[in-house]
């Protein structure tokens, strides 16, 4: 398909923060930072607040990602945002 988003070329933190590419990158960022990385549960405290607020924000992001596929359906299934 045309009008794709191929996002590589610079590192994510240096990317412009506008448009659908920004939304996809933010979604990928959230997945990685909250689900990936070294987890130190057990010996240290994980004190991440506002996860619910983040979920609401993500729903907005996913809705705008949806518009990429020409369908503005309200999607509430966002995997991988559990604390």
């Amino acid at each position: 398909m045309s009008e794709r988003a191929v996002l590589t070329g610079t590192t994510p933190a240096a990317m412009p923060r506008t448009g659908p590419e920004r939304d996809i990158t933010l979604l990928e960022l959230v997945d990685r930072l909250l689900e990936g990385g070294v987890s130190i549960h057990g010996d240290m405290t994980l004190a991440v607040a506002d996860i619910d607020l983040l979920r609401i924000g993500l729903r907005v992001v996913v809705a705008s990602v949806d518009s990429l596929s020409d369908r503005a359906e309200d999607v509430s299934i966002v995997g991988g945002t559990k604390p």
Partner: protein, 222 residues
């Protein structure tokens, strides 16, 4: 509190970036590992976009010239001694993972498509209830998503060391994958993704990154 960003082989100095709340970065070093940290005054970490990017910026700064093991967002410790203790206790695991990640970056590969439209007005089989019809559609979507992933992976597998993936994270996101890619292959890899996107008719295929290897930090992940 001490906020942790990433682990690496011993660093002589901290990156010049600021931490998630503006504090300067520090390095805590044991015999074989360093942790990049900053002092953090609050007892919780608010998940805001700026904070997420702040964490990411620090990890990216470290990964410009060395293998990095990114910490999960919101990792905090009570004091320096607790960080050093953790580094010592899990040193073998962390060092082995760092070796495995040397020369590699993570690239996110995903696909976006228009979900199958409802077939409620044309039952798949006479007499089938709405519940069964839903399940049938869903399993059909999984098959399509699986086959899309397989098509993408046939091209990308040889350019990468390993991958993790998830199908149908949402109805419009059939494929969400992360590939561990050697530095030297990054350019070819993203070119191939662009070619796949041009070839595949029913989905947009995209990639993001290069990311620090967040999806490959587990010692057993191969």
């Amino acid at each position: 509190m001490i906020y942790l960003y990433a682990l690496a082989e011993p660093l002589s100095e901290a990156p010049s970036e600021r931490g998630v709340d503006g504090a300067p970065l520090r390095v805590l070093t044991t015999e074989k590992l360093s942790a990049v940290v900053s002092d953090y005054t609050s007892s919780s970490v608010h998940v805001e976009e700026n904070m997420l990017w702040g964490h990411e910026r620090v990890v990216e700064a470290i990964m410009t010239d060395r293998p990095v093991l990114p910490m999960r967002f919101g990792s905090v410790a009570p004091d320096d001694a607790a960080v050093r203790h953790m580094l010592a206790r899990r040193q073998k695991e962390f060092s082995a993972t760092l070796r495995r990640l040397t020369g590699m970056v993570e690239i996110g590969v995903g696909a976006v498509w228009q979900p199958e439209t409802t077939t409620a007005d044309q039952p798949v089989e006479p007499g089938m209830g709405p519940g069964s019809a839903y399940l049938l559609r869903r399993s059909g979507s999984y098959r399509r998503a699986r086959s899309l992933l397989e098509r993408v992976d046939r091209v990308l597998a040889e350019l990468s060391k390993t991958r993790v993936d998830r199908l149908l994270k949402s109805p419009t996101l059939p494929v969400s994958a992360a590939y561990l890619v050697p530095h030297r292959n990054v350019h070819t890899f993203t070119d191939r993704v662009a070619e796949l996107d041009a070839e595949i008719e029913d989905a947009q295929v995209f990639c993001t990154g290069p990311w620090p290897p967040y999806s490959f930090t587990r010692a057993q992940a191969s």
